[in-house]
């Protein structure tokens, strides 16, 4: 026992560290954690306090009923307007137009659904984008390649 002083010191140090960790953890656990399940309950209310950014599925039809009618009969009918356009909140506030609607015209957006993939069901039209554009090796895909041929009417009512 006489020559084990250092081992005892190490043991006490370890206990001190573990105590520090356990006590420290107590303060690090978020306040409402575990009140209604294994998550921070307050997170729900913080999200409820946020302004909605997206519109309801048929919110756009309130003003753009002609486009909505055209789109309803097309293959893009199940794709919400806000997938290619910006969110409703950036365009309309309290029923009034606040800014022009921004549109995502990038080829990447189209490729998200139309790039040929093994696991994608055949009911979605698919192409190999590079092959489709007949690009040579090293040639970059133009930023708005798809919409140069597929115009908005074709997209809304293909």
């Amino acid at each position: 026992m006489e020559h084990t002083k250092h081992i005892w010191r190490a043991a006490f140090l370890l206990i001190a560290v573990l105590t520090f960790v356990i006590v420290g953890r107590h303060f690090l656990v978020p306040k409402s954690f575990g009140e209604a399940g294994y998550y921070r309950y307050d997170a729900l209310f913080e999200h409820m306090d946020k302004e909605p950014r997206h519109g309801a599925p048929d919110a756009c039809a309130d003003c753009h009923d002609d486009i909505a009618a055209a789109k309803a009969g097309g293959k893009h009918a199940p794709v919400k307007c806000e997938v290619c356009h910006d969110v409703l909140a950036s365009h309309v506030k309290d029923g009034e137009k606040v800014a022009d609607m921004r549109i995502n015209r990038s080829w990447e957006l189209c490729a998200y659904c139309h790039q040929r993939l093994v696991g994608r069901p055949a009911l979605v039209a698919q192409v190999d984008i590079r092959e489709h554009l007949e690009l040579s090796a090293g040639q970059a895909i133009p930023a708005e390649a798809c919409v140069q041929c597929h115009d908005k009417d074709a997209i809304h009512h293909p």
Binding site: E2, H3, T4, K5, H6, I7, R9, A10, L13, L14, R25, L28, V29, P30, F33, Y38, A77, P78, V79, L117, V118, G119, R120, P121, L123, V124
Partner: protein, 394 residues
């Protein structure tokens, strides 16, 4: 009707999400566990011929352990959230269990290394001045007892810690295999054999790494390599590599022989998609060549000069390190390049060079443990005195 089925994002398994970093992660934890097992062979099982690498193995284990989480953190989009699984751990999460296993193992290895180097810390403190002296004295916890009784007490505790460390090291790495083995949707991963394969290949990579570090350290220090030590390491490496490769082959043979539906996708995966890295690198180059080389070292030792033995063992160890890395690559990447539906394959994964999860970042992470070991060696020499080793081994 199409509309109803289209209104969701699909397909959900087209991207290879687990990148080069997830290949590196089990590789590094494997080295942690493997190096520790080498150290334990001396400290617990009394393989006295391994004394020259006993300290090196422990410090190597700690050095790799310190960077083991870096590949994961580099892979995460929000690395700062990683601590959440430690602060609010849930036992249904294997990753949160990892936090505890990792912490417990880290404490154990640090304590063991502290006891192994305690005498040197005290002697160095006596020779040093200023802040360095103060820090070293603090590292000695203010006790400067290096009497024989104190050393005997150290030795006893080291043995207990090393004994506890064996299951800890095995769980640390077995859990990594468990992470893959428990993904039941993936036919290539989902086997209870996965943790065992990971564990054995971990020990293989650990022994191989210690051989390379030992030979390099001896060359740098101008010390003679202990013949008994290297011969013993070569023997263990041969044994563990053989068991590892046998298990790897058995897993595939079982899948192939049973001809279950998963073989319809796993078969073409191995034959076409990962043929080079699986059959070429992992099986032929990485397994067959070291098996022959180490077989020569183990069975024909009386015909080999010390120099030849050292070179052959070094080459075999290096190839086995590549083999284990290719095994991690084939499991992690190979398991992701086929669709879980079994419908077909994705494009092959080629890691980027300069991104957060690219080759350069992976190399940087992998170099850190060697820098830690180098710094440690400058302060407290990792090599064990030859004369002492001779005295103990006889």
């Amino acid at each position: 009707m199409h509309g109803q089925s289209l209104n969701f994002l699909f397909p959900n398994d087209v991207h290879i999400m687990w990148s080069l970093m997830i290949v590196l992660y089990p590789y590094i934890t494997g080295l942690v566990a493997g190096a520790f097992i080498v150290g334990s062979l001396y400290h617990v099982f009394g393989r006295s011929e391994l004394k020259p690498v006993s300290r090196l193995a422990m410090v190597a284990s700690l050095s790799f352990l310190l960077v083991a989480t870096l590949p994961l953190l580099s892979h995460l989009g929000h690395p700062e959230r990683a601590l959440n699984i430690v602060i609010t751990p849930h036992f249904t999460s294997a990753m949160s269990a990892f936090g505890m296993i990792y912490a417990a193992y880290l404490i154990l290895v640090v304590l063991e290394i502290w006891l192994l180097f305690r005498s040197e810390i005290i002697e160095l403190a006596a020779r040093s001045t200023g802040i360095k002296r103060g820090l070293l004295k603090m590292a000695a916890l203010g006790v400067y007892d290096i009497s024989d009784e104190a050393r005997r007490a150290d030795h006893k505790v080291v043995t207990v810690l090393a004994a506890l460390g064996i299951p800890a090291a095995c769980i640390l790495h077995g859990y990594v295999g468990f992470m893959f083995g428990s993904v039941k949707a993936n036919a290539f991963w989902s086997t209870p054999l996965m943790p065992i394969i990971f564990l054995f290949s971990a020990v293989t990579s650990g022994i191989a790494m210690i051989i390379i570090l030992y030979e390099t350290l001896s060359a740098v220090n101008g010390r003679k390599i202990s013949g008994d030590c290297l011969q013993s390491l070569a023997g263990y490496l041969w044994l563990f590599a053989t068991v590892t490769v046998t298990l790897e082959i058995l897993e595939i043979v079982t899948l192939s022989y049973a001809q279950d539906e998963e073989w319809l996708i796993v078969g073409p995966l191995i034959r076409d998609k990962i043929a080079f890295s699986f059959i070429g690198i992992q099986m032929v180059f990485g397994s067959l060549i070291p098996f022959i080389l180490l077989g020569i070292v183990v069975t024909l030792k009386r015909y080999l000069t010390a120099g030849m033995r050292n070179v052959i063992t070094f080459i075999a160890a290096l190839i086995l390190l590549i083999q284990v890395f290719s095994m991690r690559w084939n499991v992690v990447i190979g398991g992701q390049i086929f669709s879980k539906s079994g419908i077909g394959f994705r494009e092959n994964y080629v890691p980027e060079l300069g991104t957060r999860e690219g080759v350069a970042a992976a190399l940087c992470i992998f170099i850190i443990p060697f820098l830690i070991m180098g710094a440690f060696n400058r302060l407290l020499p990792l090599a064990v005195e030859d004369g002492d080793a001779q005295a103990r081994s006889h």
